[in-house]
Amino acid sequence: MFENYIKVALRNLIRGKLYSFINITGLAIGISCFMLIFLFIQDELRFDRFHSKADRIYRVVQKLDHTEGQGENSSSNPFPVAQALKTDYPHLIEETVRFFNFQVPSFSLQYGDARFNEKRLFYADSSLWKVFDFPLSVGDPATALAQPNSIVLTQEMAKKYFGDDNPIGKVVRFEGAVDLKVTGVFAALPTQSHIVFDGLISFATVYGQTGPNFGKSWIWNPCWTYALLKEGVDPSELESQFPAFVNKHYPDFIKPQMTHYLQPLIDIHLKSKLDYEIQPNNNESDIYIFAAIGIFILIIACINFMNLATARSAGRAREVGMRKVLGAERNQLIRQFFGESLFMSFIAVLVSMILVALALPVFNNLSQKQLSLDFLANPLIFAVLILVGIIVGFLAGVYPALYLSSFEAISVMKGRIKFSGRSGTLRKGLVTLQFAISLALIIGTMIIYNQLSYLRNVDLGFTKEQVVIVPAKPPIAGRYETLRNEWMQNNSVINVATMNEIVGAHHNTHEYNYEGMEAGKWIYFPSLIVSETFVETFNMQIIAGRNFSKDFPRDDSLAVIINETMVSHLGWESPEKAIGKRMYTPTGDERVIGVVKNFNFVSLHDPIGPFLLDMPLSNQRPFWIKYIAVRIAPKDFRETIAHIENKWNTVVPEYPFEFFFLDEDLNKLYKSQDNLGKLVGYFAALAVIVACLGLFALASFTAEQRTKEIGIRKVLGASVGGIVGLLSKEFLKLVLLSNAIAWPVIYYVMDSWLNGFAYRTSISLMSFVLAALMGLAIAFLTVSFQAIRAAVANPAKSLKYE
């Protein structure tokens, strides 16, 4: 019996080549999209789960709150936190481990002629492997990071520096000053980690570089700190101890503002949005967006399948009637039709596996992942494919199965079945739904792109174009002026300034005591520590008072510049009135000397808050010159950069030169939006293709069904144009209706998405109209092809057989 069904299914498939092709292609595209998104989401959800103790690992994070200041939500902690926690709560905490990188953009590493700036090196405690499972291919977890001046490299790094030589025992020069011995090499590291590194240096190395008294401060908080809780310990148990912990260890002035709490390791990648993250994390909401898109595309493909099956039911009715006459019972027929649609859906599943395998390299490139269709390593894929096959087959088959099997034999024989009624309405409804989804995706894509281009072009209040950023090193502070002078020799170098973080992207908060505040108290304001040329270099505007100046040599300890929001935040009536107000720091009796026009010192997700520009004390300069910004003329910029590199190499020969453009770096702030835009765009295009495939088949089917009607109309004198219009009109009406459904829904969705940005475009009607026109044009092209074919057919031929 089953064999018989398969035969019929197969022969139906071959007989209706066009339908089968469209059905299977559409469904396969739908399933492929779904699978790609599934793999993507699965990968996202797997982050940090490869550690065998992942469920017991928590990141200790810090919240520095202030009723008036800006505070911090720091993902990292002061140095002593890890050890103090371990000492104070041995019954709760099994082990802790810290990661640290001096908050510098890169470290230099040299072996022989191989000399590079490495951006992803960290110091890590030797307890690393008691907490985490980063696998080693060579080396002993117990000792690899135990001694000072040890380094463990990834395979890629070992290859980069030592080629095919055995890396173990090799000595590399670190920061031009310290020799590190390679004590281990990591095995291939899982990519699903929120901590990504190219090498880890033993934490004890830090003290060799800085002296044994380094890292005692409870204020500076650069250490990412992870705690492995003892088996069975509830994290809230530890958290409840934190107030006492803060009280015991922190300096008095900061106690009231300080809280610690714990973040589950496995939540970090999707949920954590703190300051100073090791790398930007992803948005949980993106996962939902992708999941929704995956399901929607699958629905569109299922609808094709259902529609075509019901559309063809007229042709199958006779078979149904005949089978009933021959003794088939209804449930046997139901089984037959389910069998057929399952059969088709599994063919589509097979095709989609090929499509996914082909699409993965492109998709990986887009999503910056390393996904693979590896059934052995990821048996869940198999289960999902089977499940999708069954669900799709079932969904797609349910209507034809129940509807077709309900035909009475006699009605079919007598041609009494009317197909245009109920199933026609359903079909139209489904087509409308398909187009509504496609249109919504198109509109969504357009709005995302509008927003992205808005973000790129909005006036940040400072110049980001033609700014070359050169990461610097503490030892060059003494040579900075020389370097600057050498650079400025070239007319194309407009100005040069230093800063401690990249303006527009990052900043720290520092202690201040403003005029009117109780003496001895400090609040934390976000600020950049810059050189006196900073404001000019970035074309910022001083709206009151003056800029930092060489003419005032004590500006470093006596002067700050504040932004407009700070003026209003502190209730100082006007920028002019703010000039001369007190703004103490722990190191100087500083005054406000100028007010700068507001600029976006963080990404456009957030509004502009109060902000300060401060200069480093002259004796602390090495610590604060982390980046040098060079604004250059747009003309011949390659030559200018060559000049910059040249001079760097003469003045600072011990460090490799590197640079990047500020605007490109700032664009990275919107990387996840950018990826979202791209992926949504691609999937929207696929959704449209699948929906059009369905529409095409349905149109050809309708044209076929109405052959007789068209023949009669032609005999009665209808023109080709008239008939094309007649056949197309119906579908175009549906597309218009689908606009009515899509518009309000996508407006609501995109409006709430845009609300995640402090700076957002308004949703323009243009996107909607454009999408509607696109939808109409695509639908018309799709439908009219069939309509024209039907309209130009010879009526004598179509009427002969009726």
Partner: protein, 224 residues
Amino acid sequence: MIKLNGIEKYYSSGFVKTYVLRGISCEIKEGEFVSIMGPSGSGKSTLLHILGMLDEPTNGEYYFLDQAVHKISEKQKTEIHKQYIGFVFQSYHLIDELTVYENIETPLLYKKINSSERKGMVADILDRFNIVGKKDLFPNQLSGGQQQLVGIARAVITNPKIILADEPTGNLNSAQGEEIMDMFKKLNKDGTTIIQVTHSEKNAAYGSRIINLLDGWIKEEGKN
């Protein structure tokens, strides 16, 4: 074998009843070869469908092998149908997607006969109907006469007690028609009851009895 008592069939639309059959009472004995004749619209096909339990009368009693068909459930009807009745249609109604062999085999599948037995039965029939060479062809590769032959083969494979044929030669030329009618004659001789609907006096002549219908009434019954 078959007893009809006051069978009526009408369709009501609004207040108007359109009668298709009225006051049909007759009896058909086992082994008979009955031809139902009459002009278009006289209710021949409807009567045949009622006899074949594909359609239901509005009123009246229908006994098939002493079972009251007008009282039994749909399921029982399907059972009787499967076991005793074979159908042959004017337009053959073969399943286009199945080969000759598979078309003939289909009723056996629904009777849940096992595979080896099925093979034997189909082979036997193919042999009897002289269409062994055509068994792997699809219906659209056969002439009308050949298709109808397959249609009959499919009807008789379950060894029905009665074959109902709805203008079985209506779409065929006269030579093909004769071949088909000879086949019916032969089947009748072997003991199968046959009821056919026909327009043709010539075909009716193959049977043992003629029922003439006019506007839903039995006009006359005659023996050949």
